[in-house]
């Protein structure tokens, strides 16, 4: 089973999480940086949580690590979390991830 899929569209990158739980026990960060085409100029990174029903703080740490990584390539890159379960969105807002990315629920 795929853990994560990357899709490119013009200047944006969409990262689709394929497993229902993000809890720090899958090498998401390593997979993404391995698959990321570093030659591309990316201005927007969209994290798609359509298939995700649960995330804990270890999973949130993975997301923040990824955002830092992409900011290293483009400090002006914009981030967006889409298709979020409402309960996960509540947790994200609670830990102030809304300061780092736009948040859209399902």
């Amino acid at each position: 089973m795929d853990i994560v899929k990357l899709n490119y569209e013009i200047d944006s990158l969409s990262i689709v999480f394929m497993k229902p739980h993000i809890e720090g026990n899958d090498p998401i960060f390593e997979i993404v940086i391995d698959q990321f085409d570093k030659r591309k100029k990316i201005n927007r990174i969209i994290f798609n949580f359509e298939k995700v029903s649960y995330i804990n703080s270890l999973g949130i740490a993975e997301l923040i690590s990824l955002m830092r990584y992409f900011q290293g390539f483009n400090p002006k890159a914009k981030f967006k979390f889409i298709e979020l379960d409402k309960k996960i969105a509540k947790i994200f807002k609670m830990v102030e991830l809304g300061n780092l990315a736009d948040i859209e629920t399902r």
Binding site: E23, N56, S57, I60, I91
Partner: protein, 142 residues
């Protein structure tokens, strides 16, 4: 917690599979004993996960030979406590912030603790290697 009658005492090794089994075991224990907490199932699972993951990650460094111990007790008629202890050196609990701080919410431990504190009372023993989660119970009339 000497002299306390524990409703449940259980130890598991620090592995991902034990982590998941333990969380489910605790939730099933609450269900079997008609212990209804005021937070919902998602929030209950999340705070247990944060506490257990914290113990396994920061306390035992995912060392498969190290255990964490869980004990559940009645604090009073309206509250129930869950003690989770690891074999680590503990940490300075005075450094725990009560709110995240924008983009500075980088320390993993801080974020997990903040989530726990949002949904229940949280305390530690003196050395910082045992967390005490105190949950409110639903009253008999809901």
């Amino acid at each position: 917690m000497t002299g306390t009658d524990f409703m449940l005492e259980k130890s598991v090794y620090s592995t991902q599979s034990d982590r998941l089994e333990l969380i489910e075991y605790i939730i099933n224990f609450f269900d079997r004993n008609y212990l209804y907490v005021t937070i919902d199932r998602y929030e209950f699972y999340l705070i247990l996960d944060e506490a257990v993951s914290n113990a396994m990650e920061h306390g035992n460094k995912w060392n498969k030979s190290k255990k964490i111990q869980v004990r559940i007790y009645r604090k009073d008629n309206s509250k129930i406590g869950i003690l989770i202890k690891d074999e680590g050196d503990g940490f300075d609990t005075s450094l725990v912030s009560t709110t995240p701080n924008g983009s500075k919410i980088t320390p993993l431990r801080g974020r997990g603790i903040f989530i726990m504190k949002t949904f229940c009372e949280v305390g530690w023993n003196e050395s910082g290697n045992e967390v005490n989660l105190i949950l409110k119970m639903k009253s008999a009339n809901g």
